[in-house]
């Protein structure tokens, strides 16, 4: 029997659908791409976490330095998991890290940093979460890589893993430090 188009059609359609479904298996619906990529950081000014002296504002993120902005909270369990990695980055002086303390009671935020160590150069206490919403934060922890001129180059959602730091964050930070145009994103 001669093979005609309509004999192959069902198999071909199945193959196309299968390819899309297979692709869909690897999409994570929890990872919502940020609307702020390559855009300037939102305007804000926050006082520091209790017991610390340096607050955080958008001005500090435009000061000509590549920075990480880490959104954390004492009630956030995954934040404890990624915390040692931030301490390590801080100890190695790889990059300046600022902390955005999201919807946290002041004393608990201070206790969190006193207990686990404070990797942040500056902290901003955002007890109402308004600044967090301006940053498009929807799940803590989140980590932003900010360019020298204060634009968001990358948003990492969820706790950082050693692989994320090694393969994504550090290479991007180094590239941005070397890149005069500050155009690299992730």
């Amino acid at each position: 029997m001669k093979l005609r188009p309509h004999h192959i059609a069902p198999v071909a359609i199945f193959a196309i659908v299968a390819v899309f479904l297979y692709w869909g298996l690897y999409l994570n619906p929890r990872q919502i791409p940020t609307a702020l990529k390559s855009k300037p950081v939102p305007e804000f000014e926050l006082p520091p976490v209790q017991g610390r002296s340096l607050g955080l504002s958008s001005e500090h993120l435009r000061a000509g330095e590549v920075t990480l902005v880490n959104v954390f909270a004492s009630w956030c369990v995954p934040c404890r998991i990624e915390h040692p990695l931030l301490m390590e980055l801080h100890a190695k002086e790889e990059v300046t890290i600022h902390g955005l303390n999201y919807k946290d009671p002041p004393r608990q935020a201070a206790a969190f940093l006193d207990e686990l160590g404070d990797p942040y150069s500056r902290t901003g206490a955002d007890p109402t979460g308004r600044v967090g919403i301006d940053w498009g934060v929807y799940g803590v922890p989140e980590t932003f890589v900010v360019t020298r001129d204060g634009r968001i180059a990358c948003k990492h959602i969820g706790p950082l893993t050693p692989n994320d730091v090694r393969d994504k964050i550090v290479p991007l930070v180094r590239a941005l430090k070397a890149d005069p145009k500050q155009e690299k994103t992730c």
């Binding site: 619906p29 919502i32 791409p33 609307a35 702020l36 919807k103 919403i133 498009g136």
Partner: protein, 162 residues
């Protein structure tokens, strides 16, 4: 005895549920009923980022509550419905809209049902054309060759024989 207790028990339950309702309904409604209605409708069209397939109006998540508060604030500030949505889209992207917007990146999404329907109609038409062609070829069989005719004659004469 029971009947005498029924009223206090009912009152107790009523008080219990009322306090529960207060504990859950933390939203402060807008004073103007029309504005409150708008706030609710806008909230119904916005997706909760934590619980994904619920609107922020239906969700109990803390973030959904914060976003409902922002919707009310924007309305009080005099924003139109579109401006309120744009405010959140600027922060969370098109993802927050339960109805995807109609633009270049979503044309495929919007037109896919029509495209698929057209493919299906085309397929069915091709199939029927194929059936008809086959039916026609069965109605008008090829003419018999002389050899075939001789064979038929032979067979028929056998059947009608003695």
């Amino acid at each position: 005895m029971l009947r005498r207790l029924a009223a206090p028990i009912a009152a107790l339950f009523l008080a219990l549920f009322a306090s529960l309702a207060l504990a859950i309904g933390v939203d402060e409604p807008l004073a103007d009923p029309a504005a409150e209605q708008r706030a609710r409708e806008i909230s119904r069209s916005l997706r909760c980022l934590v619980c994904q397939n619920q609107s922020i109006e239906d969700s109990n998540a803390a973030l959904a509550r914060d976003l409902r508060r922002i919707v009310r604030e924007r309305i009080e500030a005099g924003d139109s419905d579109g401006q309120v949505r744009a405010y959140l889209v600027a922060r969370y992207g098109d993802w927050v809209l339960l109805n995807p917007p109609f633009k270049a990146t979503t044309y495929l999404l919007w037109f896919a049902p029509i495209l698929l329907l057209m493919f299906a109609i085309g397929g069915v038409m091709l199939y029927y054309r194929h059936l008809r062609a086959r039916a026609r070829s069965e109605v008008e069989p090829a003419a018999l060759s002389a050899e075939e005719r001789g064979r038929i004659k032979e067979l028929l004469s056998e059947r009608t024989g003695p």
